[in-house]
C-alpha cells in the first residue's frame, strides 16, 4: 500500500471524520420526525440531497482541475480530475436512483422532466462519456489532454442546459432554494449532517482514488495488471 504514502495522514484523518459523521448522520436520520404529509418515504431525501451536493462537487472539481491541467501540464491535476469524475458519476447515480423512488411515493410518477432533474441526468451522461473517453484513448498524456477539454466543456454545458430546459422543458418540481422554513421542525440537522457526510465521503474516496492512480506507473492512466 505504498500508494498512500504521500497522503496517508490526510487519508486517515478523512477516514476518521467520515466514520464519526456517518454515525451522527445515521442517528440524525433515525431520530428525525416522519413528514406529516409524505410519511417515512421523505427520509430518502436525507440521502438524495447530500448525494446531489457531492455529485456536483465532483463535476466542479473535474472541471477546475482540467483547467489547471491544461494550464500547467501537471499530471497530478489530471489524476484528481479523473478521480473526481468517477466520484461524481457514483454520487450522481445515487441521486438518480433515489430520486425516482421518492418521486413515485410522493409525485406518483417515477420521473418528471423537471429542469434540475433533466440537467442532472444530462450531466450524468456527460461524465459517463468523459470516463468512456478516458478509457478509449491511448497514451496517458493524450488521454489527459482530450479528457480535460471535454471536462471543461461538460461544466460549461451545465448552465446552458439549465437555461435551455428551464425555458422550454417541463415545469419545475424541485424547490427553488433552501430558505429557512421550507424544511419542517427537526429536519434541518439531518440535512446539514448529511451534506457534511457526503462531502467527507467524497473527499475520502477521492483521496483513496488519487492515491491508487498515483501508485500505478506514472505513464498509466488506468490500472494495469502488475506482478
Amino acid at each position: 500500500m505504498t500508494g498512500y504514502a504521500d497522503g496517508s495522514t490526510a487519508l486517515r484523518a478523512s477516514g476518521i471524520l467520515l466514520a464519526l459523521l456517518a454515525l451522527a448522520y445515521g442517528g440524525q436520520v433515525i431520530l428525525a420526525p416522519n413528514d406529516s404529509m409524505q410519511g417515512v418515504v421523505q427520509k430518502i431525501l436525507y440521502v438524495h440531497v447530500p448525494c446531489a451536493f457531492a455529485a456536483y462537487l465532483g463535476f466542479l472539481v473535474t472541471a477546475v482541475c482540467s483547467g489547471f491541467y491544461l494550464a500547467t501540464n501537471d499530471e497530478r491535476y489530471d489524476r484528481v480530475a479523473a478521480a473526481a469524475a468517477e466520484m461524481g458519476v457514483l454520487f450522481c447515480t445515487l441521486v438518480i436512483v433515489t430520486g425516482p423512488i421518492w418521486a413515485k411515493g410522493t409525485w406518483g410518477h417515477w420521473w418528471a422532466w423537471d429542469p434540475r432533474l433533466t440537467v442532472t441526468l444530462l450531466l450524468w451522461f456527460i461524465y459517463l462519456a468523459y470516463l468512456l473517453l478516458r478509457s478509449f484513448t491511448e497514451g496517458s498524456e493524450r488521454t489527459a489532454r482530450l479528457a480535460a477539454v471535454y471536462g471543461i466543456a461538460g461544466a460549461l454545458a451545465i448552465p446552458l442546459n439549465y437555461f435551455a430546459i428551464d425555458l422550454f422543458g417541463g415545469a419545475a418540481m424541485h424547490p427553488e432554494n433552501l430558505q429557512r422554513g421550507s424544511l419542517g421542525q427537526g429536519m434541518g440537522w439531518p440535512f446539514a449532517v448529511g451534506v457534511a457526510t457526503a462531502v467527507a465521503a467524497f473527499a475520502h474516496l477521492l483521496l483513496l482514488r488519487v492515491g491508487l492512480e498515483a501508485s500505478v506507473s506514472p505513464s498509466g492512466g488506468r490500472l494495469s495488471i502488475r506482478g
Binding site: L128, T137, L146, V149, A153, L156, A157, F168
Partner: protein, 221 residues
C-alpha cells in the same frame, strides 16, 4: 486568417472533387426522413406535423454526426492531421477553417433534406423559407463548432464512430431545444420566439469560443 481560408478552400475542394461525404450525408438524412415517415402511424396528419420539426432536426444531427466524423478521419491518411498541427499558427484558425467547411457541407445537405421533408410531411416551407434558413444556420453554427472540436477528439480514440455521438449529444441539448422550438414556432405561426433565438445565440457564442480555444489542445503533432 490565411490558414483559415487555406483549410476551408482545401476541404471544399476535396469535397467538390470526390463529393463522397456530401452524398453519403445526403442519402443518409433523406433515408432518416423517409424512415420517420413510415415509423409514424397514419402518414402526414396534423399530429405528425406537430412533431415534424423535432424529426427534421434529428435528421440534421444524424447527418452532421456522419459528416463531422468523416471530416477528421479522412485527415488520418498519410498523417495529414499531424501535418496540419505542425503549421506554426494559432490552431484556432485551423478549427475555424474545418468548422466553416463542415458548416457549408452540412448546409447543402440541410437545404435538400428540408425540400424532401416538406414533400414527405406535406408542410409548406416556402412562406418561411428565409427565416427558417436563419434558424437552421444559427442551430448549425452551434452544432458544427462543438461538433468539429469533438470530432477532432473522437478521431484520436478507439471506437471513434461511437465516441463522437456519446461525446456530442449531451452537449447539443441547448442547440436542439432552441432550434426545434424556433422551427416549430416558425411552422405554426411564421415567427420565431425571441427566447429561442437568444438561447441559440448565447449557445453558439459559448461553443464557438470554447472550441476556438480548446482546439489548441486537441490537435497534436
Amino acid at each position: 486568417m490565411n490558414v483559415f481560408l487555406a483549410i476551408l478552400w482545401k476541404d471544399l475542394l476535396v469535397e467538390w472533387r470526390s463529393r463522397d461525404r456530401v452524398v453519403a450525408m445526403l442519402v443518409f438524412s433523406l433515408l432518416v426522413v423517409v424512415v420517420f415517415h413510415f415509423s409514424l402511424p397514419g402518414g402526414a396528419t396534423a399530429q405528425t406535423r406537430a412533431t415534424a420539426p423535432g424529426l427534421l432536426w434529428i435528421a440534421y444531427v444524424f447527418a452532421a454526426l456522419l459528416g463531422l466524423g468523416r471530416s477528421f478521419s479522412a485527415e488520418l491518411e498519410n498523417e495529414a492531421l499531424s501535418g496540419i498541427a505542425l503549421v506554426p499558427v494559432d490552431r484556432g484558425w485551423v478549427f475555424l477553417g474545418k468548422g466553416a467547411a463542415n458548416l457549408l457541407v452540412l448546409g447543402v445537405v440541410q437545404a435538400v433534406t428540408a425540400c424532401v421533408f416538406a414533400l414527405v410531411f406535406e408542410v409548406d416551407l416556402t412562406p418561411v423559407a428565409g427565416r427558417l434558413a436563419g434558424v437552421v444556420a444559427l442551430g448549425s453554427l452551434g452544432l458544427c463548432s462543438i461538433g468539429t472540436l469533438f470530432a477532432a477528439v473522437a478521431v484520436r480514440t478507439r471506437f471513434r464512430e461511437v465516441m463522437l455521438p456519446l461525446l456530442l449529444l449531451p452537449l447539443l441539448v441547448p442547440v436542439l431545444l432552441g432550434s426545434v422550438r424556433a422551427t416549430s414556432a416558425l411552422l405554426a405561426d411564421g415567427t420565431a420566439p425571441f427566447a429561442a433565438i437568444q438561447l441559440l445565440i448565447v449557445t453558439d457564442a459559448v461553443y464557438l469560443i470554447l472550441s476556438f480555444l480548446g482546439f489548441e489542445y486537441v490537435l497534436e503533432e
